[in-house]
């Protein structure tokens, strides 16, 4: 009898745990990056897969071949010479919201966040921290975040084009 009781309590506990966590996702988030020195070097990916959970976990995945440039020739160089997208087809970020306590997923509003995690790209993993906002509207989050990537941190030798790129992430979750 005691065992059954503990078992039931256990189930109840697990149940509330599962319910406490809510996950939002998108298959078509957006990442744009641009060179601060050359305005032609600008690219957008509209097929960013991302999940954000109200326990603070956040992931982004972007396929390198999904980055589109205005000029086809640049797109080719970006894929073949710089990011080597046949060898490293995807960039992944896995991290957490550092100041989760300040975000209320259940209440509409705009919340400033700091996100910290590992970005893997071109076969290199680096820990990065970025500032952004999470806007809850009608119960659905919109995440915006800007940060800078130094190409050589990821073993990308693009110094003839640009040393850094400004990255802009925008994901509307369902």
């Amino acid at each position: 009898m005691k065992f059954v009781f503990v078992f039931l309590i256990g189930i109840l506990f697990l149940g509330t745990q599962a319910e406490a966590q809510k996950v939002y996702g998108t298959r078509n988030g957006k990442i744009t990056f641009a060179s601060p020195t050359d305005e032609d070097v600008k690219s957008t990916n509209n097929e960013v897969a991302s999940r954000i959970a109200d326990n603070g976990q956040i992931t982004f995945s972007a396929l390198i071949k999904g980055f589109k440039f205005k000029y086809a020739e640049m797109q080719e160089h970006f894929n073949d010479q710089y990011l080597e997208s046949n060898k490293f087809p995807r960039a992944d970020f896995k991290g957490t919201i550092v100041n989760l306590k300040e975000v209320n997923f259940g209440k509409d509003g705009s919340y400033k966040v700091s996100v910290k995690g590992d970005l893997t790209m071109h076969g290199v993993t680096r820990n990065i921290t970025a500032a952004g906002t999470i806007e809850i509207k009608g119960g659905k989050p919109l995440a915006n975040c800007k940060f800078v990537i130094r190409m050589k941190d990821f073993n990308v030798d693009a110094s003839s084009v640009t040393e850094t790129v400004n990255v802009d992430v925008s994901c509307q979750y369902q």
Partner: protein, 138 residues
């Protein structure tokens, strides 16, 4: 005009033309037009299976290739820049073939079977296989 001046002018002229050609090549080279390419034909399910079984091998077979897929529409959305996105079903309810269309495919209903062509940009585990530059075949 002296002969050497003429030579310099001619060489300079050729140099300028060559520089112009390089600039034109970089800036005017057209993007791929998948509607003019013959796509590798397969079902949405077969493409999903290939990536799920062996991502590396599927990448060598399908990455950056024009492919023509047949499958059932799960849902139709617009992305954050206003382009039409069609998710096509696989046997895994959480996994889709995610196709962003280049040209408007017209009104599509969930449950409808379609054939479309596009460029495969790769695989995102637990989420989808991504196709972009999509055009509706039928």
């Amino acid at each position: 005009m002296q002969k050497w001046k003429k030579t310099i002018l001619i060489i300079g002229g050729i140099g300028l033309l060559a520089a112009l050609a390089v600039v034109l090549y970089v800036f005017l080279k057209p993007h791929r037009d998948v509607s003019k390419e013959k796509g590798v034909q397969l079902t949405a399910q077969a493409l999903f299976d290939a990536f799920k079984t062996n991502e590396a091998e599927a990448n060598t077979r399908y990455l950056d290739k024009a492919i023509e897929l047949n499958g059932e529409v799960a849902d139709v959305n617009t992305n954050q820049d206003g382009h039409i996105v069609v998710n096509v079903k696989t046997n895994d309810p959480l996994f889709m073939i995610n196709c962003t269309f280049k040209t408007n495919p017209g009104t599509l209903q969930p449950g409808q079977t379609i054939t479309f062509k596009g460029i495969c940009t790769g695989y995102i585990p637990d989420m989808n296989v991504v196709i972009n530059e999509g055009v509706l075949v039928k």
